[in-house]
Symmetry: C2
Amino acid sequence: MNILHYPSSILEDAVNEFAKLPGVGRKTALRLVLHLLRQDKEDVENFGNVLIRLKNEILYCKMCHNISDSEVCLICGDETRDSQTICVVENIKDVMSVENTQQYKGLYHVLGGIISPMDGIGPGDLEIESLISRVKSEPVKEIILALSPTMEGDTTNYYIYRKLSECNVVISTLARGVSIGNELEYADEITLGRSILNRTPFAQ
Amino acid sequence: MNILHYPSSILEDAVNEFAKLPGVGRKTALRLVLHLLRQDKEDVENFGNVLIRLKNEILYCKMCHNISDSEVCLICGDETRDSQTICVVENIKDVMSVENTQQYKGLYHVLGGIISPMDGIGPGDLEIESLISRVKSEPVKEIILALSPTMEGDTTNYYIYRKLSECNVVISTLARGVSIGNELEYADEITLGRSILNRTPFAQ
């Protein structure tokens, strides 16, 4: 058992705060705090101020519920984007991942999670109703369900699909198949099986 | 190449601050910031305030240079401790490690690093002169050199040993040998060789 006696209460406070972060233990937290102690006072104060501003200044786009600096985010406000297509994602990291591909020019809808009974997250905890009303009130032609290919993701996909069945909208999901650049022998059999069933015409 | 577009400048600022920490990449930093966004506003503000206080409130003990809440740290100020023995360590983490063993009741001296020409750290950057003057001005009988058993640690040990050669003080270092509880086959040959050379009388 480790009985760590901290020589200073402010040091201990700082270690406690870092140790609350996911994946950060007390030893790592101490290492991070000692690192900060070696930095300039201004830099550390700046870090502290950013954290204080974080929760106060952050906004969520009233259209897509993505994190934003303004009421309507840059993507929803961009008139050059295709407003007839909405890509449904779990969280803001997935928006960034899809944006990163530079292959998508439509809008997004951030659910804020996926249906996961194990974690006590039901459809009511997610931005599903607001998605339905967006589809009903806006000239949306296609919904792309871009959730993780897990059981929870599939459940959420199916729930949204059922909810949207009365709307006149095309519903698609991400293509599933072998990863580009991976050796075939490392692909799992379910993925490989599906990618044979859903084989596509050969094109250069 | 990853071109990550952050949807909010305050989010980006926070990610930048976390990504400056050692061992924290931009993806981890984003994960930590999104975690904080899910926490209560008060908790996140508290984290920020602790960081701002950190550099302002922390003091270094004027005797041993350990981190402290006051001018003289709790260990140096504790009159029940043996003030004739000083354990020389690299940093505050090592003080905590030795304290944790509950085997040592003397005082400490924190060097603030070890001599490492590769990192541009010379004897002048460390609290070596203040150690010498402590030994000369206080009734010190023994100096325990408890630095890491690396080349840099050995160099620093030797430098301090030379500096203290004129003082009437016993200089000792940590015992080196096989770790307790480890299988012998995993001990490296240098450690094993030394532990045979420096074998100790068998005692229960």
